[in-house]
Amino acid sequence: MSVERPNLIGVDVGGTFTDIVVRDERTRTMTVAKVPSTPADQSEGLMAGVDELAVGPATVSLLIHGTTVATNAVIERKGARCLLVTTRGFGDVLELGRRDRLSVFGLRGTGNPLIPRDRRIEVDERMRPDGRVEVPLDADALIAAVEPHMDGIEAVVVAFLHSYANPAHEDRAVEVLNQRWPDHYVIASARSLPTVGEFERTSTAVVHAYVQPMMARYLGSLADRVERAGYVRAPAVVQCNGGAMSLRHATERPANTVRSGPAAGVIAGTMIATAAGFPNAITGDMGGTSFDVALVVDGRPALSDEITVDFRVPLRVPTIDVETIGAGGGSLASIDAAGILQVGPQSAGAVPGPACYGRGGTRPTVTDADVVLGRISARRPIGGGHLELDPELSARAIDEHVASPLGISVEDAAEAIVHVIDSRMAGQVRMMSVGRGHDPREFVLVGFGGAGPLHTDAIIREVGIPRAIVPPLPGVTSAIGCLDADVMYDFLHSFRQRLDEIDMVEANKIVSEFLAEGRRLIETGGVPVVGTSVVVEGEMQLEGQRHTIRVALEEQLESSAMEQAFREQYRQRYGTGLDAPAFLTDLHCRVVGHRPTDVGSNTVPTAMSWDAAVIGARPAYFSGQWQDAAILERDLLTPGMTGHGPAIVQQDDTTTVIHPGTAVRVDGLRNLILEVTA
C-alpha cells in the first residue's frame, strides 16, 4: 500500500449490472457503485461507474476486474467468426466430440459447434503419435486453402493431430498465417493445451479464439480509458481459477476469463464465511441472469480442471468448480403449452430489463414479482438513483402473462413466480451439497449478488440449511473478491513417461523455467504482491491406466519421493494398491503472488434490538397474505443487533428479505446471520 495511492478498485462486469468497489487500504472503508452494463463496449459502463465514485485516478494503486463477457459470448453464440484449420480427415472432430449425447438418459437435443462445418478447413499434414512426421505440411497449400474463406474472419485456430508430441506443423502454420494476416489472432492447439486428446485440445483453443477478438477490443478499450484517465497501472483480470493475471496475459489467454466473475464471488464468499466462523459454506450468487453455486469445504473452494461451457464445448483450464443455472432477477415468467408456469432460463437482460424499468419490457420477470409482493421498494431500487421503478407496469405484465391465463390474483401469481424460481435455485444448492454427499444442515449459505438476498431465506428454508450469511455489501461481492484475488499463473508440461524413465535433470529444468516465467509475469504484471509461493503437482497413474490422480509434489522433483506420494494417495483413494509401475502424464506448475489480505476489523457485538435501524413498515406478501414487514436501513444495523421477520432490509446494492419465522443477528463483521426458527 502506498500513501499516495491508497485506493484499490474491484470491478465485476455482469450481464446486467457492472459492480464497482473502491477500498481505501488505510481505513478499509469501501464505497460502491452499481451501474447498468453496456454490452456494446463494457469498458464504457465500467469507467462511468468509476467516475461516479469520484476517486482521483492518482490515488488508485490498481484496478482488478472479473467479467462474464467471455462466458456470455459462448453461451449466446455471439463470439468471433473463426476459422479452424485441421489435419485432413479430421475437420469434424470439433462437432463430433467424443460421440456422446446430452445426458445419460434422454435422446433429445442436438449440438451447436462454435465453428460451423463450412468454416473448418482440412489440410494435408500428419504427425505420428511419437512426433515423427508422416505427411509434411505444405505451407503454400495451407494458405491457398484458407484464403477463399478468410472474408470476415476474425480469428484462426490451428489444431493438428499429435501436435502436443511435436508442435512443428502447428507452429509453422501459425507463422505463415501470421505473416499473411498479421492483424488476426491465430492460436495453435498445443500452445493453449499441450496434452493428448484432440477434441478437448481443439475445443480449448477454439474457445480462446472465439472470445479473443471481443476480449481484446474490450480490454484494449479499458486499458486506453484507464491510461487516459491517469491511472498508473494497467488493470488486472481475474481468471476462473480465482487468481488474477495481467491484462496482457488475458488478451493472449482470453478463455481463462470464462466464469471469472463467479470465481471472484466464490473467493469473496469463502473469505466472508471463514471469517464469520463457517468453514463449510455454499455460495449462492444471484444476479440479473444467472444463479451460481459453489461448494466450500474446510475453507477451500472445490476445484476442477475442466469447464463444460456448453454441450460438446469443453474448456480445459484450472478452475473453481461453479455450477450455474439460468435464474436471476431478470428471469422471464411465462405459461407453457401445457398450461404450466415456467420461470427462466430466458432473461430480459439489461435491455429491456424487467417491465417495471419502463424500458419497453412487457414480459414479467422475477424482479417484477418481487416488486408486486412489496419486497423491493419502488422508490429505492437496486442501483440507487439510476432507476425509478413503476409497480403498475410490473402488475400489468404479471396480470397479462401469468395471473389471467391461470385465473388467479396478481399477488398469488407473483408469489408463484417467486416460488418456482426459489425451487429451481434450491434444487441447484441441493445438487451441490446433498448431491455430493454433504449434509446441508452442516453448511451455511452465503447469499449474495444483486438479487440473492431477496431469495436467500427462501432457499435455505427449502433445502433445510439452518442459517445463511448476507454480507455487508452482497450486491457487489464478486467485485470485492477481485480486490483480494491472488495473482496466479499456471503451466503444464506433458511427459507421458514411466517415472523410472524420466530424465529428472531435464524435468527439474522444465519446472524451474516455469517457475521463473511465473515469477517474471508476476514481477512485470504490475500487481503488487507481498510474496510468492509455488504449487507443483503431477497427473499420475499406474502404467496402462487411462485416468490419473493429481499428486502434490515438492518443488524439487525427486523420483522416489514422487513415487511414494503417488502410491500413498492411490491407496487412500482406491483402497488397494497394485504393483504396476508409476507413470507421469502431465506436470502442473502454479506460481502464486500473494496479495495482502485483511478480513476487516471484528467489532465486539453488543446485545441490542434493531429498533434503531427500523425506518418504517409496509405490507409485504408472504404465504398468501399481506403482512406488515418492518423496513430497515442496512447502514443503521450495527454489530450485536437482533430481530426477526417479516422484515425487509434496504441498501443501495440489494434488498434482503427476512421471512416470518426467521431470526436475524448482526455479527461483528456486520454480516446478517439469518437463522430459521419456524
Binding site: F90, L96, D100, R101, E134, R430, G435, G464, Y574, T576
Partner: protein
C-alpha cells in the same frame, strides 16, 4: 414403514446414496486399465436389497442397458446362497458373467458384495464391468457366427471370488488362464473391487450418521415414490394400444431377417409391453437373454421419462410379456453375443410405439447398431485387442433435429481419443467425420451418422458385429428413415463388403489394409416438405445434406 421420515432426511439419504453409487462408478472408471471401461463407460454400480436383490439405487452415469440387468445378477447371487444355504460373510465378493442369470453378454462380469452394519448384512453392493477379452474363439468376442454360448468365451456361474477381503487365487488364475490380456483384465477386476470398497466405506458413514433403522425406512419410502412417479408418467399417456415392428438383418448364419414386434397397451396408471409375434430364437448370436430384454424396455422408458430415479419401484407399474422361445427370451446354450444390436432395436421399437401416443415426448428412431469392431493381433510379441464403440445419428424429435454422431443408445460410451488409440494400437486413422446425407429427411431432420477409415500397420484379425444394413432407423409421422449401415474393408488392398450385411466374421488383414465404417443416421420427424426452408439452406451450406439429397 415403522419410522416416520422427514422430507429433509429423505432427500439427504437419497442424495447420499446417489452420491455413493456415482462415486463407485467414478472410482471404477478412474482405476480401470481398459479403454472400454475407462472411456467407454461400459460399467454400472448399484446398491441392492439383501433379501430380494431389488435395486435400491444405481449410478446415474452407469451404462443404461444395465438398468434392470443388475437386479437380475444380484438376485442370482441371493438365490444361489439360499440354495446352498451359505450366509453372507464380511469381505466376501461373488462373481458371475452368465448372461442367462445376469443379462447382456459374457464380457459383462458382475461382482456382488455385502454391506455389513453392526454384524448384519443390510445391503448389497454390486457392479459390472466390460471385460475386453473373455477367451472366446475370436479375440474380444464380438463374433457374428457363434452358434452357442460355448463359442463366446468362458462362462462363469455364481462363484466366490473373494473371502475375507482376499481374492481367491485359484479363481483369479482360472480367469487369467482364459484371457488374452490377463494383466489388463486383472487390473480392471481390481478396479471393480476398488469401487465396491469405496462404496462400502461411504455407506458406513451414512449408517453411522443416521442409524440403520432410519436409512432402511428411507430406502422403502424412496422405492414407493419411484413407483408413484412412474405411474404418474404412464397416466399422462392416452389409454390405448400402440404397435411397432422392425427386423434384424439376419442372424449371421442364414440370410433370413428376424422379425421383431411390440404392442404397448396403456390403461390408466398401468402399462403392458407385449412382444407377441416376435420371431423364435435364431441359430446365430442375435438373441437376448430375458434380463437383457427387460433392461432394454426400462432403458427405453428412462430415455422417454429421464427424471424417474432407478430403483425396483419404477419397474413395478409395467408388465412385460416376452413369448418364451422367442429371440428375446434366450435359453442356454444359445449364443447372445449380438445382444447390443438386438437391445438397441427393442429400445427403438418401444419409442416408435409410444411416439404415436405422445408425439411431443418420444421421437423417431436413433441408430440401433452397436456395430462393434474388434481388431486384434500382436505388437512386439504383445497381444492387443482394439474394441471400438460405434457412433451414429439420433432420431429427430418434436422441435429438434436429431443429434449428429451420438453414442449407442444402449450405453454411454465415449469414443476414445483418436490420438490415444494410435498410441495404443498399430493403427493410423485416415478420417473420422460426419457422414453426409445420412440423416432421415423430415420437418425435423434425423442426425447424421459418422464415417471413419483407419489403416492397420501390422497383420490383424478383424471382426465386426453390426446391424441395420437392410433395415434403417425409422422416421415417424411422415419423416423418412436414416441411411443404412455401410461396412467395407480391404484385404491385400482390394475393397470388400461383408457377405452378411454389417457382420464380418474373423478376417485376416495385412499391414496397409483399411477398414471403413459408415454408421446409420437417425429417422426424420414429420413430413420433409414442412421443413423450414432456411434450415434446408443451412443443411446444404454445412454439407449435412448434398443438393441431390435436399430434393
Amino acid at each position: 414403514m415403522t419410522l416416520a421420515v422427514d422430507p429433509t432426511t429423505l432427500a439427504v439419504v437419497r442424495g447420499y446414496m446417489d452420491e455413493v453409487v456415482d462415486e463407485m462408478d467414478l472410482v471404477q472408471v478412474k482405476a480401470a486399465f481398459s479403454s472400454i471401461v475407462a472411456e467407454g463407460n461400459d460399467r454400472a454400480n448399484g446398491l441392492f436389497r439383501v433379501e430380494s436383490g431389488d435395486t435400491v439405487a444405481q449410478g446415474r452415469e452407469g451404462s443404461p442397458i444395465f438398468v434392470a440387468a443388475m437386479q437380475y445378477a444380484v438376485k442370482a447371487v441371493v438365490d444361489w446362497l439360499q440354495k446352498i444355504d451359505r450366509p453372507w460373510e464380511p469381505g466376501d465378493a461373488y462373481l458371475l458373467n452368465d448372461p442367462f442369470l445376469g443379462g447382456t453378454h459374457l464380457n459383462d462380469a458382475k461382482l456382488v458384495a455385502p454391506f455389513f452394519w453392526e454384524g448384519e448384512p443390510l445391503l448389497l453392493l454390486a457392479n459390472t464391468g466390460h471385460w475386453t477379452d473373455v477367451g472366446a474363439a475370436q479375440a474380444g468376442a464380438f463374433s457374428p457366427t457363434c452358434r452357442a454360448i460355448f463359442e463366446e468365451g468362458i462362462r462363469l456361474p455364481v462363484m466366490r471370488f473373494a473371502r475375507g477381503g482376499e481374492i481367491d487365487p485359484e479363481v483369479l488364475e482360472l480367469i487369467r488362464a482364459n484371457n488374452r490380456l490377463p494383466d489388463m483384465q486383472e487390473g480392471d477386476l481390481r478396479s471393480q473391487l476398488n469401487a465396491l470398497e469405496v462404496g462400502r466405506r461411504r455407506l458406513e458413514r451414512l449408517f453411522d450418521r443416521y442409524g440403520a433403522e432410519l436409512v432402511m425406512a428411507c430406502v422403502s419410502e424412496l422405492d414407493l415414490r419411484s413407483e408413484r412417479l412412474m405411474e404418474d408418467r404412464i397416466a399422462a399417456i392416452p389409454d390405448g394400444t400402440y404397435t411397432a415392428s422392425d427386423h434384424l438383418d439376419d442372424d449371421g448364419i442364414s440370410e433370413r431377417p428376424i422379425h421383431l414386434q411390440v404392442a404397448i397397451t396403456v390403461e390408466g396408471r398401468g402399462m403392458t409391453i407385449d412382444f407377441e409375434g416376435t420371431d423364435p430364437l435364431c441359430e446365430g448370436p442375435m438373441n437376448l437373454a430375458l434380463p437383457t430384454t427387460v433392461s432394454a424396455c426400462y432403458t427405453s422408458l428412462k430415455h422417454t421419462f429421464p427424471d424417474i430415479p432407478i430403483n425396483a419401484g419404477c419397474f413395478r407399474p409395467v408388465t412385460l410379456r416376452v413369448p418364451s422361445g422367442s429371440v428375446l427370451a434366450a435359453e442356454p446354450p444359445h449364443a447372445v453375443g449380438g445382444y447390443s444390436d438386438v437391445a438397441g432395436h427393442v429400445i427403438a421399437l418401444i419409442s416408435l410405439a409410444l411416439v404415436q401416443a405422445v408425439p411431443e415426448v418420444a421421437g423417431a428412431a436413433a441408430f440401433q447398431t452397436g456395430g462393434v469392431s474388434v481388431t486384434s493381433g500382436q505388437v512386439d510379441g504383445h497381444p492387443f485387442v482394439a474394441t471400438f464403440p460405434y457412433g451414429g445419428g439420433y432420431g429427430a424429435t418434436y422441435g429438434s433435429d436429431g443429434l449428429i454422431g451420438g453414442t449407442n443408445i444402449i450405453g454411454m460410451a465415449r469414443f476414445p481419443s483418436i490420438e490415444m488409440t494410435e498410441h495404443e494400437f498399430p493403427i493410423l486413422w485416415d478420417r473420422f467425420g460426419i457422414r453426409e446425407n445420412s440423416g432421415g429427411a423430415g420437418r425435423w431432420r434425423g442426425g447424421c451418422g459418422t464415417e471413419y477409415t483407419f489403416t492397420v500397420e501390422t497383420d490383424v484379425m478383424l471382426s465386426i458385429l453390426g446391424e441395420q444394413a437392410t433395415s434403417p432407423p425409422q422416421g415417424v409421422l411422415g419423416g423418412e428413415p436414416g441411411a443404412l449401415n455401410d461396412v467395407s474393408y480391404t484385404v491385400d488392398g482390394v475393397w470388400q463388403r461383408p457377405a452378411h450385411g454389417a457382420k464380418v466374421p474373423a478376417v485376416a488383414l495385412h499391414a496397409g489394409d483399411k477398414v471403413r465404417r459408415c454408421s446409420p443416421g437417425g429417422g426424420g420427424f414429420g413430413p420433409p416438405e414442412e421443413r423450414d426452408p432456411a434450415l434446408v439452406e443451412r443443411d446444404l451450406a454445412l454439407g449435412y445434406v448434398s443438393p441431390s439429397g435436399a430434393d
